[in-house]
């Protein structure tokens, strides 16, 4: 214990703090980039999956298979697969890129079901009204269904991203300088494990807590019916 107190001034020195800040930024950047791109691609996947008609059968199957397969593989296995695959194709790809791709592939599979559930929560009668006016499937989705599906999609999607911030610790296994990797490094330099990983734990909390709050705020805001949301705005001074 005494050793910990002794180490505190040295541990929270400029270089170490910079290192921690950098790796915290990296963790956040990886997660956000991976999840955002993944989220966008998940929309494409869901859209393709909902393509009607016989000819689209193989397409639909590929989409279903993708989701089912990736949801059943541990994330770390995806990371290694991406690592070796990318390195075989382009040996000089950065580890950051590899991590983002792995997160992205994983996020697609998990958010696709969230998105599908959201789109399916919009009453079919809304779709029919759009069809009766000759809106195309894409127009119907973009203009009618998606705007109404946001309240259902956004909260679980943010919850997924928040929980993924901590799961990205796994990419330290392949040598990305994210938080957990730095922790191990500092620990190896002789700093107390309790001190190091206590600080790291706090960093993870600082990264994900504001996002959770944002999620809760959006959930409340999106959950309010449109009319009431407007009315409240009119009342406020």
């Amino acid at each position: 214990m005494e050793r910990i107190f002794e180490q505190i001034p040295r541990f929270f020195s400029g270089p170490n703090l910079t290192l921690l800040l950098e790796s915290a930024g990296l963790t956040l950047a990886m997660t956000m980039a991976g999840c955002l791109i993944g989220f966008g691609l998940a929309f494409v996947l869901v859209y393709v999956r909902q393509t009607p008609g016989k000819w689209a059968m193989p397409l639909r199957w590929i989409c279903i298979l993708y989701v089912e397969v990736f949801r059943r593989i541990p994330f770390i296995v995806v990371v290694y697969l991406v690592l070796f695959f990318i390195q075989a194709v382009t040996p000089d790809a950065s580890l950051f890129t590899i991590a983002v791709i792995a997160i992205c592939l994983y996020a697609v599979a998990y958010t696709a079901d969230i998105i599908r559930g959201g789109l399916e929560s919009v009453p079919q009668t809304q779709v029919e009204a759009a069809q009766a006016m000759n809106l195309s499937r894409l127009q119907t989705n973009l203009r009618i269904v998606l705007p109404q599906a946001w309240p259902v999609i956004v909260p679980p999607a943010i919850a997924f991203a928040v929980s993924f911030i901590k799961d990205t610790a796994l990419v330290s296994q392949v040598g990305v300088f994210e938080l957990t990797f730095r922790g191990k490094e500092l620990n190896n330099q002789g700093y107390s494990g309790i001190l190091v990983f206590g600080t790291i734990a706090f960093c993870y909390f600082l990264l994900s807590f504001p996002l959770s709050m944002l999620g809760q705020y959006l959930e409340k805001r999106l959950g309010t019916p449109r009319g009431q949301r407007r009315t409240r705005k009119l009342w406020s001074p």
Binding site: T125, Q126, A130, A132, N134, L135, Q148, P225, R226, G227
Partner: protein, 245 residues
């Protein structure tokens, strides 16, 4: 030549055949009414015409052209000529009244923006809702939503208008207003198929009435013929119950 001719049309929800060979025809500018007990398939007739419930047999002719409802292109052509007011209104929940009215005219019909806007305002005042242009549908009463749905359908300038229970949620004074509007539209040459439970309304506006039961048209005629002297037992039974008061 009939403007809308439906012959022996069949339609199913999955395995359940809901329309078992429906035939009727309407001339341009005429108003035909579909009446009958709940669940008899009145809404399904309108939905089938809009290509929302699959047609499994029979023929639909619009302005002398036979429409093949298994072709996406011809369904689009049919929808381009018709507009429907749904029994449940189905206003777009994420849009204002104005946006509901102008979406398809702007994005699908590609009409001039200023004209679409002024036409939308004209239609809103026609249905007595000029002040609700910026409201969302969850801020409107049922009757108001229904009138918006009517204005939205009219904004598409359809040749044929399909109205499902369009007066059911209206105040008596508004029924007259909407009735006047509908009659005026018919005078201007719009062809209409209306579904209604209100026989007084049907008697007022309809040129002909078809009485439906269990997915079939049992009897057709003018309102007077059908209401006052029904020929079939089923029609007599239905009208004696519904017209007694």
């Amino acid at each position: 030549m009939a403007h809308l001719a439906v012959s022996d049309v069949r339609a199913s929800y999955g395995a359940l055949e809901v329309l078992k060979g429906i035939s009727f025809s309407i001339e341009k500018g005429e108003i035909a009414a579909l009446v009958g007990p709940s669940g008899s398939g009145k809404s399904t007739v309108l939905r089938a015409l809009m290509g929302l419930t699959p047609i499994t047999g029979g023929e639909v002719d619009i302005a002398g052209e036979t429409m093949n409802y298994s072709s996406a292109r011809e369904v689009r052509a049919a929808r381009d000529r018709m507009a429907i007011v749904f029994q449940q209104y189905n206003l777009f929940q994420n849009m204002t009244v104005m946006q509901n009215l102008t979406l398809a005219p702007l994005k699908i019909k590609n009409w001039d923006k200023a004209e679409v806007a002024s036409e939308a305002r004209r239609l809103l005042s026609l249905v007595g809702l000029a002040d609700k242009a910026d409201a969302f549908s969850d801020q409107l009463s049922g009757g108001q939503q229904q009138r918006v749905a009517l204005a939205r359908a009219l904004a598409l300038k359809p040749q044929i208008l399909l109205l499902d229970e369009v007066t059911s949620a209206l105040d008596p004074e508004l029924v007259n207003e909407v009735l006047d509007a509908i009659r005026k539209l018919a005078d201007e040459g719009m062809t209409m198929v209306i579904v209604s439970h209100e026989m007084a309304f049907v008697r007022e506006v309809a040129d002909k009435v078809a009485f439906m039961d269990a997915g079939q048209i049992v009897e057709t005629g003018t309102p007077a013929e059908l209401f006052d002297a029904p020929k079939t037992d089923r029609a007599r039974d239905f009208f004696s119950k519904i017209l007694r008061h």
